[in-house]
């Protein structure tokens, strides 16, 4: 296991270096140099101003020199300055990371609870109306684009509010984006305000994985309940509750645990769209703004973070698999 871990860590570092080179190349060679854009949008910017700005932002060096300089400072723990915000990138990332993690954690928990419950229920009531309902809902949840779903949710819960036709229900609505209502009193009102702002983005972020995990859970459970040891457990006279909870469920959850670890980077990547639609000030929105604004240092830091998360959670998935399933051994 130790050898496996060392090998995977080494591979992870190589992958990260390769990805950083690829991402840096793509960003730098994306047409529309930030200083050129400034000059084009403002006819008063003179060529000598452009030259000074290029030097100021370090854009006058050749590509490879810029990459080496960037990598050297990253290795020293310095992610550089944001060209857009004029502040250290690390400071911006720290500000936004907490917001993204709050969304991410809530969405993962929600997706797991709802997805696993629906999958188990569906498996235990195969070919019932509920099973068909879960299956159809799962396909729908899997197919709906995040961006579209976000806008429809905003329209439904903040604009259309179909329940408003019921007398006395006009007041019920959700915020149409943002993370908080400015000026809300601190303490419980602020906490509750934050919770109401989280409802829609969490729902959107969780939908895809709820659907996916419900399907996986269903098939995993169906496979396990047909195993000999489950039949044996029943033959021993155990109650159905004990058979399902103690024998079937534990084994059915093994692939799901791996799946969750593998899905976290996907959810993190999905946050780019969700946070943009809901104006949620997290890492996803930051990446979107950084790419649009050609803020290379910020974009590189966020992309590198996403790559790091993918590598780490892939490794975690392997480790978790070995830990929960004693039959797995890595050499």
């Amino acid at each position: 296991m130790q050898r496996f871990l060392v090998r995977r860590l080494f591979q992870g570092v190589i992958i990260l270096i390769g990805l950083s080179m690829l991402m840096f190349t793509l960003l730098v060679f994306t047409p529309g140099d930030p200083v050129e854009l400034i000059a084009t949008s403002n006819p008063d910017v003179r060529p000598e101003d452009v030259a000074l700005l290029r030097k100021y932002y370090g854009l006058d060096d050749p590509f490879h020199v810029r990459y080496v300089k960037w990598m050297r400072s990253v290795l020293k723990g310095d992610l550089g300055y944001s060209r857009t915000y004029g502040t250290p990138v690390a400071k911006i990332i720290v500000e936004r990371l907490g917001n993204t993690m709050t969304l991410l954690a809530t969405a993962v928990v929600l997706a797991f609870v709802v997805g696993a419950t629906a999958g188990i229920y569906s498996a235990l009531h195969q070919y019932s109306f509920a099973d068909y309902a879960v299956t159809i809902s799962a396909f729908a949840g899997h197919s709906v684009p995040v961006f579209w779903q976000g806008i429809v949710f905003i329209l439904l819960f903040a604009v259309w509010k179909p329940w408003a036709v019921i007398p006395g229900m006009e007041w019920l609505q959700l915020p149409a984006g943002g993370m908080l209502t400015p000026g809300v009193a601190p303490g419980w009102p602020a906490l509750w305000d934050r919770v109401t702002h989280m409802v829609l983005p969490v729902l959107v972020l969780a939908t895809f994985n709820t659907a996916a995990w419900a399907r996986y859970m269903r098939s995993s459970m169906l496979e396990v309940v047909r195993q000999d040891y489950v039949r044996t457990a029943r033959a021993k006279g155990n109650s159905e509750k004990v058979v399902i909870n103690r024998h079937a469920l534990r084994n059915a959850l093994i692939p799901i645990i791996t799946l969750i670890a593998l899905s976290v980077p996907t959810i993190l990547n999905g946050s780019v769209l969700t946070e943009t639609v809901f104006s949620w000030p997290g890492m996803g929105l930051l990446l979107f703004q950084a790419v649009l604004g050609h803020d290379y240092n910020v974009a590189m830091a966020v992309l590198l973070f996403l790559a790091l998360m993918t590598v780490v959670f892939n490794l975690l998935a392997d480790v978790a698999y070995a830990m929960v399933d004693p039959r797995i051994r890595y050499e």
């Binding site: 994306t30 047409p31 529309g32 140099d33 050129e36 084009t40 949008s41 006819p43 008063d44 910017v45 003179r46 060529p47 000598e48 101003d49 452009v50 030259a51 000074l52 700005l53 100021y56 857009t84 915000y85 004029g86 500000e95 936004r96 976000g150 806008i151 905003i154 329209l155 903040a158 604009v159 007041w171 019920l172 609505q173 959700l174 149409a176 984006g177 943002g178 993370m179 908080l180 209502t181 400015p182 000026g183 809300v184 009102p189 509750w192 305000d193 919770v195 109401t196 409802v199 943009t276 639609v277 809901f278 104006s279 000030p281 929105l285 930051l286 979107f288 703004q289 604004g293 050609h294």
Partner: protein, 552 residues
Amino acid sequence: MNDRVRPVLAVAVLALALGLSLPPALAQQSRDTVVIGMAQEPDCLIMQFCQMAAGAAVANNSVFSGMVDYNEKWQLFAHTVEKIPTLKDGDWQLLPGGKMRVTYKFRRNFTWHDGKAYTALDASWTHLMLRNPRTPTLSRTIIAKIDNMSVPNANDPYTLVVQWNERYPFANTGHVTYPRHVLERDYLRDPGTLKAHKQARFPVGNGPYKMVEWVAGSHITLEAYDKYPLGVAKIKKQVWRFILDSTVLQANVIANQVDATEINNFSIEQMIEIERRNPQQTAHYTPALIWEHIDINLDNEWLKDKRVRQAIAHSINREELSQKLFYGKQPVAHTWLPERHEGFNATVRKYNYDPARARQLLTEAGFTPGPDGILRDAKGQRFELVIMTTAGNAVREQVQQIMKEQMRTVGIDLRIDNRPAGVLFGQTTRRRQFPHMVMYAWLMQPLTLPHSFWNTDQIPTAQNNWEGSNYPGWRNAENDKLNNDILQEIDTAKRVTMLKKQQEIWAEELPAIPLYFRLSLTTSNKRLSNVKPAGLAGTYINWNSEAWGWQQ
């Protein structure tokens, strides 16, 4: 359902239903707060270092008050100075050798938000700081025209004298001023770090509102400055919310979750939808200085001939475009200056939709019909033109489709080849990499003059390091002379006469096809009084926000 679970679920549902009641919070804030939504987040609030209009909206009009500013009628008014200098009053003097001297008297009751006095010393220091090559100033075009700014009398820190090296017709429109006492120490240490200075994100201003917080990615909160000498703002708090997607911003307006919008990226359809869905909101369609047009590459063999350019103009039904796509709200352009600009010329040559005339002009230019209905030039080459614009801009792409159909009827095959905005503006236009035509808009100001757009020396080339904005590559000696004279002419009447003449030549030569003048689209809650959008870049909906109030 389990008996233990049921009461827990009931409590959760009840709590959720009660908790989702947002309106009490919103209603509470609406008494003393105005929420303005924007589809952009500022990069910083020192506009000489930053490029995003969102920063200018917050900084120019709420946090800072300029020496001289524009009102909604595009008239200049003295803001932090006692009066606007004029030639007649003698505080704007023309000196020998084309030099000038302009004297401003600062109002004595303005202070910075930290209580320190706002004086002419701040203005003269700001000028020195911005002209330093080590300071990351975006543009020094105006700065380069100035020899120095001084406060000649040590006992009178409220008099500023600006010595100009050359004539400039808008020399009395004021200068940017920042608090010397806040910035000077760090400036002396390293001017290069000023963009990262606290002042850039949390400025000490002199305007009606002061900074309270900037939650990155979410909002900026401002609070009324209680010592603002022109009257403390009636609404205590101003919140700028950043909602990058215009559809989501629109939903927020309809749901009354924002009270006003600026830099909202709304289309006219979205504005109409807002008015239809929420009668509490007013949609403001303000004539602006945004000129939508098609630049023509005059180096192209076909397009060098002005008859061909005129034929293209005759082949596009711009009136129909305006009616069908913009409900007639965006007026058709016949020249490059809009009606509200002082130099607008209504009598220039107009190119109404006339396919027969277009065909006649093309025949005169040597084109003959081909077997497929598309014209052929004298060498037998098919008359196919490429038009580029910003990919993903639905309105421009619709205009292209309509143009394609209309131009085909006169025998021109239009091929659409769009680019992302970053590519189009970063390379295609700037380096003149469009083979035939490119569609985009110029955002102008009342101070905009033709020189940078239409002078021969403003054609970007590799030799001049792609300087200038004359992307069509128009060369015309008479136009050049007028442009240079306009640039130096102080007398408004003479300048306007020359601007009108320049437009006559322009409309005859047609280096670009004028399409229409875009409107500045903003919204505000009907209960919000005194909202008077100006429709000018730099003068945003909040230019008079200290006078806004909530009607009961």
